[in-house]
């Protein structure tokens, strides 16, 4: 199915995958998904105080027979590492969409260390990582990653590159 934007395609892919809970921390790159989740009466959109809450939320969703996705920024990945022992030990699926900072056109040096470490840290923690660079590949990558996560019961992260999202414009 064709969607007007890749963000709409991603939301549709999450719906098709049977996601009914979305945990998120505020993030400009996930703005469309967050607003779409809140506007959708069939979706529980849960604002978190910190990213690792979303991993525990997703574990609870799975225990209760539902599917959850976590939306976060690369800076939040570091907060999640020990909590990732939960889906891995319990052979639970986990799906997260991570907007990248600290790479393409970044202006803020504080975003660079975690942005550079995001992929290796996730891999070291046992998460299967995909990375989307082009608008035309994102929705399909999210759909395939949801299948991988929920059907094989492993943690999967889809990194949405900063080039894809667009570097944050600080001085407008």
């Amino acid at each position: 199915m064709q969607h007007a934007t890749w963000q709409e395609g991603v939301y549709a892919a999450l719906k098709t995958a049977g996601i009914t809970q979305i945990g998120y921390v505020p993030d400009a790159g996930h703005k469309y998904l967050i607003e779409a989740a809140h506007a959708d009466p069939a979706m529980k959109a849960i604002v978190l105080t910190t990213e690792e809450e979303g991993i525990a939320l997703a574990a609870g969703a799975w225990l209760g027979g539902a599917r959850c996705a976590l939306l976060m920024q690369s800076s939040g990945v570091g907060n999640c590492i020990n909590m990732l022992s939960l889906p891995i030990n319990c052979r639970m699926p986990f799906l997260t969409l991570v907007t990248m900072r600290g790479e393409w056109g970044e202006f803020n040096p504080w975003q660079v260390p975690m942005g550079s470490a995001t992929q290796p840290v996730l891999t070291a923690a046992g998460v299967h990582v995909r990375r989307a660079e082009r608008p035309d590949e994102v929705a399909e990558m999210v759909a395939a990653s949801a299948t991988l996560a929920f059907d094989t019961q492993i943690p999967v992260a889809v990194l949405l590159s900063q080039r894809l999202i667009g570097a944050k414009v600080w001085v407008k």
């Binding site: 849960i46 574990a59 609870g60 969703a61 225990l63 209760g64 909590m83 939960l86 030990n89 052979r91």
Partner: protein
């Protein structure tokens, strides 16, 4: 050292009462003694014990509660585990889920690591934190009469309870710790597995 908020309740007696005849109550326990207490009260498929993931108990409870709106979730944890996930008190309250309660076994100590004072032993008040985070029903229980009343209310209301327990250490009672087994049997007992 004795502090003004030191509790006297026996944690094993408290948990045995809270989990007596649990029916289809969905129970999540926090890493440490809460897991042992719940196991000692009687292992069952609808108990999900944490052996790690410290700070995650309340949020796991929320995920279950949202997925199972017709059932009630009881998160049973300790002061140290809840302190590590204090933000979750705000997240659970903000979620609007009403079919979840949290009971904190509070001895003001980190029991797993040598009974050092935790923040609640040094003046922090988790009941006040929960109240400030938006929990409408917050109770502190100091005796078994109060615990007996809580047993029913924790299964019906959206409540945050602090149980002031004594700091003495109990014999270890170790329920299953294979996470995949615990998760699978929980889902099977709920009837949510595909096969």
């Amino acid at each position: 050292m004795t502090r003004s908020n030191d509790g006297t309740l026996d944690r094993r007696v408290v948990v045995a009462e809270l989990l007596r005849e649990p029916g289809d109550l969905l129970v999540v326990t926090g890493l440490g003694s809460s897991t042992y207490d719940a196991g000692a009260a009687g292992d069952r498929p609808l108990n999900f014990y944490l052996w790690g993931a410290m700070g995650g108990a309340a949020m796991i409870g929320l995920g279950i509660a949202l997925a199972q709106p017709d059932k009630h979730v009881l998160v049973l944890t300790g002061d140290g585990e809840q302190l590590m996930g204090m933000g979750a008190l705000a997240t659970v309250a903000a979620s609007g889920a009403k079919n979840i309660s949290i009971a904190v076994l509070d001895n003001g100590r980190f029991g797993e690591t040598g009974a050092q004072f935790s923040h609640t032993g040094l003046g922090a008040d988790l009941a006040a934190v929960a109240s400030a985070c938006g929990w409408q029903t917050v109770i502190i229980a100091r005796d078994m009469d109060a615990v007996g009343l809580l047993r029913t209310r924790l299964r019906q209301e959206n409540m945050f309870a602090v149980l002031r327990i004594a700091a003495d250490e109990k014999p270890r009672h170790l329920p299953p710790r294979d996470g995949a087994y615990l998760a699978d049997r929980f889902r099977r007992a709920l009837g949510v597995t595909a096969d």
